[in-house]
């Protein structure tokens, strides 16, 4: 039985929540193809994080300490992880699909002579083999992929495998190891925080969000008019709308933008890719307006309207006017 190795992600010395989700995923894998679990945590100051992870999961943790790892570079991570993983000869290496994880995981696979499958969101048996489910075509289709026989590096989509609630019977053992990896070709220069001005989105009870489907910037007027029907409302957008310069980035919802949970979220002309959905799936009620009845946004919406928004929104505003005299 070959081991399943989980790479924990640390954020300024504390475990990133995606690390615990990666452990849940690894347990689900081990139920299909048994193997012992082992967690590797790498960083400049890993001791406390390793103890916390071992206590919360009950899994043994190897903590790799390296004073050069205060800042992240793919080169350093690949070097440190490949040398410590290779001797373990694992069946799977599980990495959170975070901005860091998807940055180093493919290269790590090359170093290990392993296969690589990214953004895995479900697991099942496919014809007697482990099948990994992941989104394709902007979320309009799902792939079932059977990993190769040898070692495979997998990245796990955050949010897909909730962390376990129950505390383990006993904490895992922690081994602290010195690591001397260096990366002479890249240099981490530090981090900048995200821009401010989140208040309006965080406080809004109703968010009306525009996607590329609004077609042109002028159609934001429709989105604003729709939002104006609701008290305590705000206008937001998908990445595509912010990239086009139609809305400022402070109004972007999704993994690289804001995470919101209003009472009502109206997605207008948004396809519903995983990166966008991650930022709004906790809204209490989700309404989607999209011309394409196959758009993945309809898979998570509570109410779907398969119409052209330039036609539907004016009709809706008119209907409201009849009732409420807006």
């Amino acid at each position: 039985m070959k081991p399943i190795v989980i790479i924990a992600e640390l954020e300024s010395g504390t475990p990133h929540p995606a690390s615990f989700e990666a452990v849940s995923f690894a347990r689900a894998l081990a139920r299909l193809e048994p193997g012992p679990l082992r967690i590797i945590a790498f960083g400049a100051d890993v001791r406390n994080a390793a103890l916390e992870i071992a206590a919360k999961t009950g899994v043994d943790v190897s903590a790799l300490e390296n004073e050069h790892a205060a800042g992240y570079t793919a080169g350093l991570w690949k070097e440190a992880l490949a040398t410590s993983i290779a001797p373990l000869d694992p069946r799977f290496v599980v990495v959170p699909h975070t901005a860091r994880g998807y940055d180093f995981a493919p290269g790590l696979a090359v170093r290990l002579g392993a296969g690589c499958v990214t953004a895995v969101e479900a697991l099942q048996m496919d014809d007697g083999a482990i099948g990994l489910t992941r989104s394709a075509f902007g979320g309009k289709a799902l792939m079932h992929i059977v990993p190769p026989e040898g070692c495979t590096v997998l990245t796990v989509l955050p949010g897909a495998f909730p962390p376990e609630e129950a505390a383990p019977a006993a904490p895992g053992a922690v081994t602290i190891l010195r690591n001397n990896a260096r990366d002479a070709r890249s240099r981490a220069l530090g981090r900048t925080a995200s821009e401010v001005e989140t208040a309006s989105l965080n406080e809004a009870e109703v968010i009306v969000a525009a996607g590329r489907g609004i077609g042109k910037k002028e159609n934001l007027a429709l989105i604003r008019a729709l939002a104006a029907l609701f008290p305590r409302s705000a206008v937001a957008g998908s990445r595509a709308v912010c990239d086009a310069g139609w809305l400022e980035y402070a109004r972007q919802v999704g993994v690289t933008g804001k995470t919101v949970s209003p009472r009502l979220y109206i997605a207008c002309g948004i396809s519903g890719t995983a990166q966008h959905v991650a930022g709004m799936k906790n809204a209490q009620t989700i309404i989607a307006i999209n011309t394409d009845p196959g758009a993945p946004i309809f898979n998570i919406a509570h109410y779907g309207v398969a119409e052209d928004l330039t036609r539907f929104i004016p009709l809706f505003i008119e209907a409201c006017g009849k009732v409420y005299k807006v």
């Binding site: 800042g71 190769p148 009502l264 394409d292 779907g304």
Partner: protein, 261 residues
């Protein structure tokens, strides 16, 4: 500087996606193919850098069937100096490992100073080819680049990586290096008439096919399916006006609308 930009041809995501008879890929008949949108930003970035360093060239490479030439040519229309196609005739799912291997075989002989890729492909959404290619070529890399600046002496590139929640991390990579760019790093230009005319007569050479020599057999796509609707979702039916009335009724019951009781 010698710059390589990787461009993939994908089916237009606004097309209706149906599963093909094999159950292993989409039905491709009647679909429109175009450049992966994420790669347009990589092409733009390559042109901006080229223009800042006189004497530089941009080569656009596309791995795919014959029709992928159109995508390499599209990069020339945007301003790239030349296009190359790596033949990859296998229909359906192709492992990113195999694609990266083919591009690496081309890049090794050419000694590029900088390789640019898009964040991911719209079709398989693996976000792997860039980082795989960097490792195969043994050069440093960074993904999620929302800003990139080449140093004046062209020895390094400073990359701002966009990470979770809109924060950024800054990394210097010594050249040669690979950078995968994030949408928003620039505004991709529209082709100019002169470049469109130049692209028309430009030959897109096809690389010699290389035998894939992998350490192991790649992963296999065994099934492609449409996602199920969550039980909770309700599609409103009727004419547009009837749908508007229904939506109004739903929002009123949930007392979400102004003046609603």
């Amino acid at each position: 500087m010698k710059i390589l930009v990787c461009v993939k041809q994908v089916a237009d995501s606004e097309s209706v996606i149906e599963i093909g008879p094999s159950g292993e890929w989409i039905a491709e008949e009647g679909l429109v193919f175009r450049m992966n949108r994420f790669d347009e930003y990589a092409v733009e970035e390559s042109l901006v850098i080229r223009d800042a360093f006189p004497g530089s060239t941009v080569t656009a490479i596309s791995a795919g069937p014959k029709r992928a030439e159109i995508t390499a040519r599209r990069a020339i229309e945007m301003g790239a100096d030349r296009g190359v196609r790596v033949p990859l005739e296998t229909p359906g799912y192709v492992s990113p490992m195999a694609v990266a291997f083919l591009i690496a075989a081309h890049a090794r002989g050419e000694r590029y100073d900088l390789i640019l890729c898009g964040a991911m492909a719209e079709d398989d959404m693996q976000a792997q080819v860039g980082p795989l290619l960097a490792e195969m070529l043994d050069i440093p890399s960074a993904t999620s680049a929302i800003a990139a600046t080449v140093s004046g002496d062209a020895s390094a590139i400073r990359v701002e990586r966009e990470i979770e929640g809109g924060a950024r991390e800054l990394i210097d990579l010594s050249l040669p290096a690979l950078v995968a760019v994030q949408p928003g790093i620039n505004r991709p230009r529209y082709p100019s008439l002169s470049n469109v005319l130049r692209a028309k007569i430009h030959q897109i050479p096809t690389e010699e096919p290389v035998a894939a020599a992998h350490a192991q057999t790649p992963e296999r796509l065994v099934r492609l399916r449409l996602p199920e609707r969550s039980g909770a979702s309700e599609m409103l039916s009727g004419s547009p006006a009837e749908k508007a009335e229904k939506l109004l009724a739903i929002l009123s019951t949930k007392s979400l609308l102004q003046g609603a009781s």
